[in-house]
Subunit: 315 residues, 2 copies
């Protein structure tokens, strides 16, 4: 079952009751729910950009770490972040919930978290699926569009490497949570309430971004992915990395689930002032793309960095 | 992480190793895997049709009932069936796998099941997500396109109601499996290896289908969904229902996960001969759409039918 056009009346049963509770939270943000599938118009001249992302209890989070609303919000941010990295405009999200009985009272809070993050980037909720399960999992599929999607494989020698925002918050919060402690509020906020950099991604794409990737595995790992996909090498000035307070450069490099963007821009890109004024976060030049095709990352200003080692959910 | 253009080289780690094993099975059927998101072109003049569907161990199936390849195939058939019901051409599927450690040796078989069914309707695999979990779950998001998607809400008084194929096989197989028995081979095949009626749905849409729904909850329940969504009533001749051998009319009406299509066609639709010759399955007229707006289903030729009661995963 999934979801057309105006919301269509639905039948009886627990599945439909759960869907009604979701729709009550989402209101007019949910469009066209209730048919076999959702129908979306992609603007003429644009291409469809699509991705799916799962967030599973005890793999991606533990129940005590986050509120249900935060869990919903993080799932939406993680999924929409992939559209941000492609420079795509969100057109809709499909929400698949696997909901244990113990989580049923939290359905509105989960929905509110998803809804608020989707609303922050103008993304309607166009359908989904709900099932029971023994552990909570949220699998969000995001649909967007772009005239010229930005690949991670487009970096060119001579490009300047930029990163949005400040790194290290999620990693520091996770380290503290795993130790049983209480993260600093600033670190916790970066972990618990990330925002997808959709507007920032569109701004960078419009200014000719050659390549982009979101930092979900940590900057060191994602830089390696981008370099290998593009067939280039990267020279990164580690001392230039924008870190949140209280986090070392090395920890910032391996901090995953940042949902910031790593972008390579043509050398003539120019000033970051407009970006920083518009979005209220830094856009920092941290290095350059070089021609060697071996995907190597060279760091200056720091000791050893383990190349390509980041967050791995199956490790 | 999800998956652009040509397959892009990926980094190290168990997640990427698992993705490589999937890609080895899918070969050229998997296109553009390895970027933050997939890029798909929707033909000019067509609309995007999208749906997501989850298949969870111990909710939708038990491990002893089906091979891993069958589990993969059923997940693909269930998801693609929603596109069939919309009269849409598949453009791509995103495969989210939550894979317990005990299931890891089965990753190729799961992939083969998904790949074979997707290939049978010309649907490329354009991306996905893989994570560990304590129970197997496959969440497939399907993307299709149609110039005029067929809603379940479009039925008009005077339409003739048709159903594709023969009903009752999955219900009979499930009843037998739940009793600990061995289903008849014909019933088991309908349960274990359903095919999405994509080509059939396109053929019916091209001939002016007013409304369609796939029979995932059982004909009685899905007929009620269609009637309520369309604001009409249905008069069904239960004695006309095409049943598989050994299944009663009443059991066929409540048999879910059929993945056959229930379609309403304008009165002038004509002969079903070409359909049956092309696709090798019956297309059976089982009733008519009437004007009463209360969504009532009237059955002739049988005793009591519980209206709207079908398979409910949260019941």
């Amino acid at each position: 079952m999934s979801v057309l056009e105006t919301n269509i009346p639905m039948g009886a049963g627990a599945e439909f009751d759960a869907i009604r509770r979701l729709l009550a939270v989402w209101g007019s943000q949910a469009t066209g729910i209730g048919d076999d599938a959702a129908v979306v118009d992609i603007p003429p001249g644009e291409r469809l950009v699509a991705s799916t992302d799962a967030c599973v209890e005890n793999v991606h989070f533990r129940r005590g770490w986050l509120s249900a609303q935060e869990i919903g919000g993080r799932a939406a941010a993680a999924a929409l972040s992939d559209l941000a990295a492609m420079g795509a405009t969100p057109r809709g999200v499909l929400v698949a919930m696997a909901l244990p009985i113990a989580w049923r009272p939290e359905i509105e809070a989960l929905a509110r978290g998803i809804g608020d993050v989707a609303a922050s980037v103008g993304c309607p909720i166009i359908g989904g699926n709900i099932t029971t399960a023994t552990e909570l999992s949220l699998t969000l599929s995001v649909l967007g569009s772009a005239a010229r999607p930005v690949s991670r494989a487009g970096a060119q020698p001579g490009d300047i490497i930029f990163v949005t925002g400040r790194l290290g918050g999620p990693g520091a919060a996770l380290d503290e949570l795993r130790r049983g402690g209480t993260p600093a509020p600033g670190h916790r906020a970066r972990f618990a309430a990330p925002l997808p950099r959709i507007h920032e991604g569109l701004w960078l794409a419009a200014r000719g971004a050659h390549a982009a990737i979101d930092i979900s595995d940590g900057l060191a790992a994602d830089a390696a992915h981008l370099a290998r996909a593009s067939g280039v090498s990267l020279s990164i000035r580690a001392e230039a990395l924008p870190c949140v307070n209280g986090v070392t450069m090395t920890d910032a490099l391996r901090s995953g689930e940042e949902y910031e963007l790593l972008v390579t821009m043509p050398a003539g890109f120019g000033s970051t002032t407009e970006f920083e004024q518009l979005f209220g976060i830094p856009l920092t030049a941290i290095g350059t793309v070089t021609a060697a095709a071996d995907g190597d990352i060279t760091y200056s200003g720091t000791a050893q960095i383990t190349h390509g080692k980041g967050f791995d959910h199956l490790a």
